[in-house]
Symmetry: C2
């Protein structure tokens, strides 16, 4: 008996491949190469595992690998990465606004779901949400066509004292930190005035839109990405 089973290798990507592409995307967002050890650290795997995967990914044309230097995404790899990022951020948005998830908990759930959802489901969710442009952490959501907004944001920790800012994006996914930030009212969209900063990487002191002040340690202030609100 000669039953035909999988007639051709499915075009779908392995779970891990998708994670590797996302990592490379994030690590090269400022330009340059993603290094083996950075990818390894981000995915919590050993460096040789990364080397092996980079070999496979460059054979399939998703990345460009310069030995001993690092990797970059090809246009095809970038498209695949942006698709995953769109999935992730639409899922986070949907879980938050339609199923009552806390913004600290959505990341882990989306991280698993993004590998299993169909394009159709993502588009239905996006539609139900009214095609959101930002996820609950303020990160821009790539369009279905694969375009993503690139804003010039500055971490609060590196902002100028005296400047007026709007908190645009929280660059972190750890539940505990996100809970704390939400308690402090430090969520995307809030207006900030930078009052002062202590020396030697000390905390930044800000006044919020409601007139109250917050003292934000450097570790957290590095995660709060702001845009200037001058002239608004």
């Amino acid at each position: 008996m000669n039953t035909i089973r999988s007639p051709q290798p499915p075009p779908s990507l392995t779970r891990s491949v998708e994670d590797y592409l996302k990592s490379v995307f994030h690590l090269t967002s400022q330009g340059g190469f993603a290094t083996t050890s950075d990818i390894a650290e981000m995915l919590d795997v050993a460096p040789p595992s990364v080397s092996g995967m980079m070999k496979r990914l460059s054979e399939t044309g998703l990345i460009e690998h310069v030995p001993y230097r690092g990797v970059q995404l090809t246009p095809q790899g970038r498209r695949a990465a942006l698709q995953m990022i769109r999935r992730h951020r639409i899922l986070e948005s949907y879980l938050t606004s339609k199923l009552g998830y806390d913004w600290g908990d959505v990341h882990v759930e989306a991280e698993r779901l993004e590998h299993a959802v169909s394009e159709k489901l993502i588009e239905r969710m996006a539609d139900a949400l009214g095609e959101p442009r930002y996820d609950p952490h303020g990160a821009p959501i790539p369009t279905a066509a694969g375009e993503i907004e690139e804003a010039e944001l500055v971490p609060l920790a590196e902002s100028e004292v005296g400047s007026s800012l709007v908190l645009q994006e929280v660059g972190d996914e750890h539940p505990a930190r996100l809970h704390y930030l939400a308690e402090q009212g430090l969520t995307p969209g809030v207006r900030l005035t930078v009052i002062d900063r202590q020396p030697f990487n000390g905390p930044t002191i800000v006044r919020l839109g409601d007139g109250t002040t917050r003292v934000v340690g450097q570790e957290l202030a590095l995660l709060l990405f702001c845009r200037s609100s001058d002239g608004e």
Copy 2:
């Protein structure tokens, strides 16, 4: 020239433990053992793959394996299987009522998602739906505690001519057949009176609640599970 066989088989998708447990559950729902070849056929894998997996599953205590006879679920395996079935059916219900999915399309989507969703997400979905008891195909949804309703249903093909029935469950997941059935108004909940049946496995003729009649071929009539509506 002889056809040259490809030297290596194409990469096939790997079925998870969860899929095996679901198969065993369904194949043993009438009691008895699930056989290796039935499981293999249901999951579209080769019989030796099933033997191998059954070995692993019985080592972890999820199934009882009687060599050359078949397998049954242990209580622990049954719990795991019912959890997967709950996930699947809640997902199907949610996709249908909250995201506008057609009842023919939900199965494939749920099949992938059920391995990725958390318990928490399923319970949120169930809550948003008002704790539904049946999925869009009329199949009972196990409770979070792992209990499932077992109804005595008879396929329309085996119903008595003259009887009054309610279509309770459509035992199929093929989009094309489901679309056709929906067109014919043969969806769970509809009342049927069995008018006649042609001999030699011929079609069953039914009158619907609205007075119209349908001629249902045996293949489909075997998939329409009904309960008696006498005295309603």
